[in-house]
Structure formats: C-alpha cells, structure tokens
Symmetry: C2
Subunit: 180 residues, 2 copies
C-alpha cells in the first residue's frame, strides 16, 4: 500500500505530530564500553510481567550494543534537562565521543549505564524479543529493576520541540544530526 | 529474571508512571461489525514507510476484530474529550454495547471507523506484523492514510488521570472496568 502514501503524506505528517511521546536516553553496553542515545518511543507493553519496548535505528551504535549485550536501560529525562545534554545524547554518535564520560552516571544491575542528572527515574530491562522493521528494531525488554532519581516532571517531546529546540543557538547546528 | 521483580515492584511502578502517553481510540471491524477501545500506547516505529504500533489485550473484542480484518484505525483524542466518551470506549465492552452507535463517526478507506467528535485527527493502518507478548499483542501497521479533524491539543494520559479521572462522578465506578 506504500504507493498510496505520497499523496497523503502532508496530512499524515500533521497527524503523526499529534502522537504523544516522552524524552528518554536509552543506553546499553558492549564488553566494557557503554553508550546511549535520545529516544522518544518508550512504552509499556504488558503489566505482568512488566515489559517495555523501544524502537532503535539499526545504524546506531546503541542498536549494536543492545544486540550484543541483550540489555538496555531507559533514563527518563526531566523537564529541566538542558539542550547540551540532549545534544550530546541525541545529535552525536558514540562512535565519535564517549558520551557518558561527560555526565554523572551510575551502572545498574544489568550492567548498562543510567543518567544521574536531569533524569526523573530509570528502568533496567533485559531483551526478551526483538522485531526488525525496515530501518528500525523494536526491542522488547522485561523490566528487571528501576528507581526514582530526581523525580519531578518528565520532559515531553512536545516540550522539547516547542520550548527547548526553539531556544537552540544556531551553532548547535554543528551537531550534524542523525548519527545517534 | 521475574523473581527479582516483586521486591522492586513499588519503585518500578512509580517509574512506569513517568512514561509519557497519549489517549487514543483504536478501532477495527469484523464483517459488518465495528468496534473500538481506548488505548494509551500508540507510537511511530519507522518514518519510511510510516509504521505505527499499538498494544492490545488479547481478551478484548478489538483484538479479535484486528486479527480478523488486518486493519486498525487510531483516533487521537482531543483534550476536550469528555469522560462520558472515554468511559464508553474505555470501560465498556463492545460485546455488550454498540459503542459507535452513540457517537459521530466516519468509515475510512480501510473500512474501520474513526471518531468525528473530540478527535484531533486519525490514522488508518494495515497490519504488517504482529508480536504476541504474554497478555497482549503488539500490532504493527503501515499507515495508509489519515486526516486532521478538529485539530487542537491532543489529550495526554497524564491529563486524563489528573484532570478528567479526578473529576469522575462516583457512579462512574459502575463502569466496572477491564473489558475494553
């Protein structure tokens, strides 16, 4: 049915913007290396056992790490997270920079890192299923732990777009985007 | 790892509440019957082609309809959606009541219904994959259409919990819940 889509794309794009997301750093490990990236799609699938899912681009280093270790951790960004942090985890690649060396972080029971700054809370998961879909993989994880950190209000994707990205200095464009 | 979870459950529950969701009516059809239910997990998986996913309890009539027809439609609820509408689609079963007979709706190109009241927009999808996970199935659909309707602000799950459910009259508890 893909051939129908181009015609509808304009209005569909508007509709897609009406879907509500949060802002998260999804992290993992490979051997003794750790990495993470900004993701807006994290969601609970079942209540018992508690399972969550996230969609990660196959080109990303975090994708490689989750595939390698079978674990991932979700740090839920708080509303006060500065663009600098989002830029580091969202617009840089872990192939070029050791992201976690620039922030305060801890290591969870699954061995993956979580943010200790600007994170409301974190969840640790172990991958139990994955589903490849074109450019992305949906990793489904059983939640094996998690803790409240700073608490407070989680950042929404809307808030990021309207309030934070709107305030982005022009030179932030040097974060060339894409390579999460 | 499920044996670890009970100990952590209290804090994990708090963390799960920090995940950000919207409020949607996911609908489908079976033969000449139509039905839908409130869902908070709808999210985009890939941009090209545009795919979305939703998680539906296997016991629900909507689950049976999506399995049967291979299509689903997502109506994105607006912030002004009254509790009456959410109660109808969220706390009643389509086995007991013809939900769409009580609202203004249209039929999309995929044959499934969409709300024409209190809906910012809708998306039509055709199932291309599904993944069973314990009590739920994740239906992954390719978006084949969609339109803006009333526009305006989409309702968030947070808003529903804090502002609408908070105002629910006690007798709404007669909506005995569960059977979506």
């Amino acid at each position: 049915m893909s051939n129908i889509l181009p015609v509808l794309m304009g209005s569909v794009k508007d509709v897609l913007h009406s879907i509500n997301y949060g802002m998260y750093v999804v992290s993992s490990k490979k051997g003794d290396k750790i990495n993470g990236q900004v993701v807006n799609t994290v969601f609970q699938i079942t209540p018992v056992p508690v399972t969550i899912a996230t969609s990660i681009n196959k080109d990303n280093l975090t994708h490689e790490f989750i595939n390698s270790s079978g674990v991932f951790t979700v740090s839920i960004l708080s509303k006060d997270a500065p663009f600098k942090l989002i830029g580091l985890f969202g617009f840089r690649s872990g192939r070029d920079v050791d992201k976690f060396s620039q922030v305060d972080y801890g290591i969870g029971d699954n061995g993956a890192p979580y943010l200790r700054e600007h994170a409301v809370a974190y969840l640790e998961a172990k991958v139990i299923k994955k589903e490849e879909l074109f450019t992305h993989t949906i990793f489904i994880g059983e939640v094996i732990g998690g803790k409240m950190l700073t608490g407070g209000e989680p950042m929404t994707y809307d808030y990021y777009h309207n309030d934070i990205k709107g305030k982005t200095p022009k030179n932030a464009a040097t974060y060339s985007g894409g390579g999460l």
